[in-house]
Amino acid sequence: MSLSSSHSPLAQAQWRILRNHEGRYSVHPAALETPPGWEALGPPDTRAACLEKIAHLWSDMRPSALQAAMTQVEAS
């Protein structure tokens, strides 16, 4: 039933890493249109492989607006 279930054709398909305007990451089936507000990063891969890459890419989970605000405060 779930996306991770091997029965789902989606689970077996190719996936992509997506990132939104806030710098939050997720994954999305490569065959489907990328939803507005998200950009695709890198080539398609299995779902598991995409998630593994995200584990390294998304080291700072603060939204980008907060990061910017905090940097400004530190600088001032």
Partner: protein, 1289 residues
Amino acid sequence: MSKDLVFDTPPRPASARRLEDLEKRIFAHEQVGELAPFCPETLILEFDDRFPKPQIENALTLLLQTHPAFTARFEHRPGGEVWRHGDARYPCHHCGHGSLADAQARSTRHQPTVMGTPVHVDLWHTAGGGHILALTLHPILADDAVFATIEAALCRALGADAIPAPPDEAPNHGQSGPQAQNLHAWQALLDASAIARVPHRAAPVDNGARLRATRILPRALSDHIRTQGTEDVLATALAVVLRRYSGLEAFRFVLGTPRPARHRQSGLMPLCVTPDPAQGFAQTLHHVAQSARNGRARMISAEQLVQDRLGRQDADRNPLGAVALHIMAERELPHGITRHMRPTPPLAEEVVVMAQHTHDGLHLTGDAEKGLYAQAQIERLLCHLERVITAGLERPDHPTARIEIVSTDELDALSAPYPDNVPVDPRATHEIIADHARATPDKLAVICGADRLTHGALDAQANALAHRLVALGVGAEVPVAIVIERGAAAMIAILAAMKAGGAYVPVEPDHPESRNHHILNDAGVRVVLTRKRYQNRLPAQMSATVLCLDDITDPPRGDAPQVTIHPDQMAYIMYTSGSTGKPKGVAVEHGPLSDHNQTTARVYEMSSESRELPFLPFSSDGGHERWMVPLMVGGSVVIPDGPLWTPEQTLAAMREHGCNNASIPTTYLQQLAEWAEDTRSAPPMRLYSFGGEGLAQSTFDLLSRALKAKTLINGYGPTETIMTPMVWKVAAGTQFEGVYAPLGRAVGDRRAYVLDPEMMPCPQGIVGEIYLGGTGVARGYVGKPDVTADRFIPDPFGPLLDATCGARLYRTGDLGRWREDGTIEFVGRVDLQIKVNGYRIEPGEIEAALLAEPLVSEALVLLREDGAAKRLLAYVTGPDLANGPDLLRALETKLPRHMLPEAVIVLDRMPTNANAKLDRAALPMMPAARAQGAGVTAKGPTEEKILALWREIIGVPDMGVTDDFFAMGGKSLLALKALAGMRKYWPDTALTIADLFDAPTVRTIAARIEAGGQTGRTAIALRATGTKPRLYCFPGLLVSTREYMRLTDYLGPDQPVTGFLCHSLNEEKTLNVSVEDVVAEYVAHIRAQSAGEPVALLGWSWGGLLAWEAARQLRDTVDIRLLGMVDVCDLGTDFMPGVTPQFAAGERAKLERDLQLWLGKTRMRPQWDRLIGSMDAECYAQFLRFIGNERDSLPFDGPEISSREHTFWVLIDNALVFRRHRPAPLDLPVASFSAGDSLSRGLNLMDWRKLSPRAAPAEVVAGTNHLHIIGEARFHARFKARLETAWES
């Protein structure tokens, strides 16, 4: 003015014939008084003024004289055989002037009957100078295919532009192989496919009513469908929709299929398909069309297939399919003739979809069982078919799984949150709370034990602590652990952490140390706020600063630290208690938190008058919502000063402090309500909110009744979607359909979705996974970006619905379905969902059905692996529970067959392991009794003999003297064998099956035999006691009375039931007893036992004739409230007096020789001689004919009871008994029930209305046969209803 025309030319002679299968079935339906699913068929044609009156009348005359439908006459011969002759003449009725409405009204009033007038022909003159012809025929004569030939014949006779007559043979109706081979192929195909259903309500009402919806497709689309092949397109669309609805991979539905016009057949074929959702519509169409062609190439009659399926114990009530599709053939009429009405196919399936091309476009009609469906569901089905066809034909290569069957508008309405247009206050939660310290500083804010804090004091104390935290370096994104028990101090600490800009991390001091240490390390806590007494529970090695409240003496201060809160800044980290792995920290930001709290306050209608008692722990996020929200609106909270208040304490606190709302976990709320109801101590309250687990209707009713609050709110939400993202807010006393109370709809800037595995929205009623999206979701899991990306996915709907881009959806792992009103119903957990025979099953639904039974306190449903087999088993506990089979039978009436567990196993308690978790391995696989014998050894020769005999008969070598014969697998026939065997040892002891019933173990029956004089009874108390009058059950031939046990269980503990034994199973009986004598013993028993009380009698099969005779003998002295008759057949043609058997030349002499040869060999010679000697000449001839008709040779394995020869002898003897018996008319209430299969076989069922003026037409129990009807829950439900009415009369 009207006159009946009689035509004087003689009809064309036609030879008589026996009825075909479908005709027999329809006749049987009429015979028992229940024609449905058949109905009188009407064709209405209008002729304009280009057809003058004489031309029409002449054409009609010719039609009525020559068309077989108008010349048919039926002859009912003794034994139930019906012949069709072709020599009848029916008049045309000239009705004068009238309109279409007049013609329709008149034809609806006609009630054609087979033996009376099966044909009504009405001719009207229209105002425009034309004519209207209305033909109303009994379904035995005509269906749509027959009307096609009538139209063709009529047009020919009119000399109008000839229209082609339908072909005599249907296309593709090849008979490529022998029937047996074809049946075999179908069996394999049906075994491999599940029955697809349109999901329906859980507790169906089985009353035969139907509902109908129609939809007209646009012209252009209809034309496109026609060019692609209407049947192929519709069947493909139905396959795609049913796959989406059911999740089945290999399934079937019924396809109405053309049939030769000269034969009457039902023309139904199961269409077995395996549509691949990844393929496009074009490829799927190719697959479906191929499956239909393959099916037709080996088609056999639907009746034969149905009978084959119903012979199985677990047959579905719609064995070919539960959804049917009929394409009504297009039939052009000559200019000047219009068709206003034509027949529909029989409406026997749960859902029947009909498609017919018209000038407006393709008409889709959905006709469904009203007890199962709501009108809107069927309208939606038609709409989904149209959407799939439109999308499929537009983009034939687009995967069918991606076709949108839920429109954007519908999705918008279904997913929408509670309406709320108030602008959001951009400030953080604690800033809004601080407002009230300035506005109403002296107003009470917190009551906790002896503590009383005003808004002003709360704020001032939090400010003081906040300044200290800032000094310790707390700021944005810095986690501050709160290791303090629930109460005012913890609230001050939390507010202080937020005021300092940090994120609070609640830690319950009483929780296991390992869990708490994990939280403190994992969250990266920099400061720990705690008390001295909890200090030793903190990890030894910790870099965080520990601050004990006991050490702080800072004076309260009015000013908060100058800290700006960014909306993306973390407000708190809440650890979830996942079922597997270590707890994960969920980080929640200030913006969505404050937004959530503000909207929640409005949905809950909170104000500064609100005083809430939150009972939820601070280790759950809901516990914090329920103190923050009242304080944000200037209200107050009463925090329990201990974790475990009794219901009495809680209610007292509410009353003492004048609470007007309370938020309480569902489990505790039930105890509270029970206490309040028992003691009538519920304080007046405006609102209760609750949540945490599924809430059954019975619990909800209890809350409504006992707590006397105006409003109830069921809250739902994973921590990841912030506190309570969904609520169901209703007035107390609301009724909901379904297992659990709805979860409701989303709150705030969120939407709730139910999506299928392809992330496509599910229509209402279809189970999918619940997703929550919008801005009101958590940031994610602390330190776990991959897990966060896995569970929080890009929201594809936000841009469509709200123009919000880049939002995320949280995958809850919970299963639900949208209800009609757009609220979501909880169904179960994704990871617990299982598949059995292709069907998706939610164990939670079965568990809930079990928990709804009064005695069940715990229920667990598991799919267990038992070697290679997978078994669905239910485990229950309850202090007064004894009987698993009873519960299983209760489930049968509530759940579809594919959801029934193999067994319900009663346990003293659920087995647990050392960690107090359920120990699955310790759960027994099957009820203990059936697993193996207890093996207690025999004492004494009587026990030894019986045990050896039983072990051999049942085949259980380790059976012991205390094991139950029936529980060990002893069936009726084996019981007869056991009796025969025991009679050999003790020929002087009268042993009946009643003895085995009452004393089903070796030990108990041995005691009976040894005691002597206690055996040989013919009546068995199936249920000895009860408050209602007694029901007496009469057995069919050669069956014990065990068959009535399931019914007895169903009727419940108040209904006493006695079963009688079949006389053929009794001791050596005298030859040629009369029915009167057979019954005399039963009558004496009833008369003695009833003692002035009313009774009801029930007879199944031939037992019905016994019950009837018993009623005749009893009627003057006993108050008989009801005679129940279950599938009772009269004698067939074999032995019916007056039926003269036919023999071929020399056949009779040969049969007599065979008989003599056989009599020379059989050991039952004396019995046969006596039996044959008692036959008269007609009966002897019938006997010879009967032997001649038998496929197998005569058996000589007698005389043991249960041998084939003995059974044969009993059958003939019984036929002779009933041959001499004719049931007499009686004026008694009769309720009769017929098995659908008996009707389809055209059995000679009794029409009790001919014998009693108070007999109702039979109720047809579809999808069961003569043997299985007695154990069928749908029969039980109907009989129970009739019996209860009878007792009330």
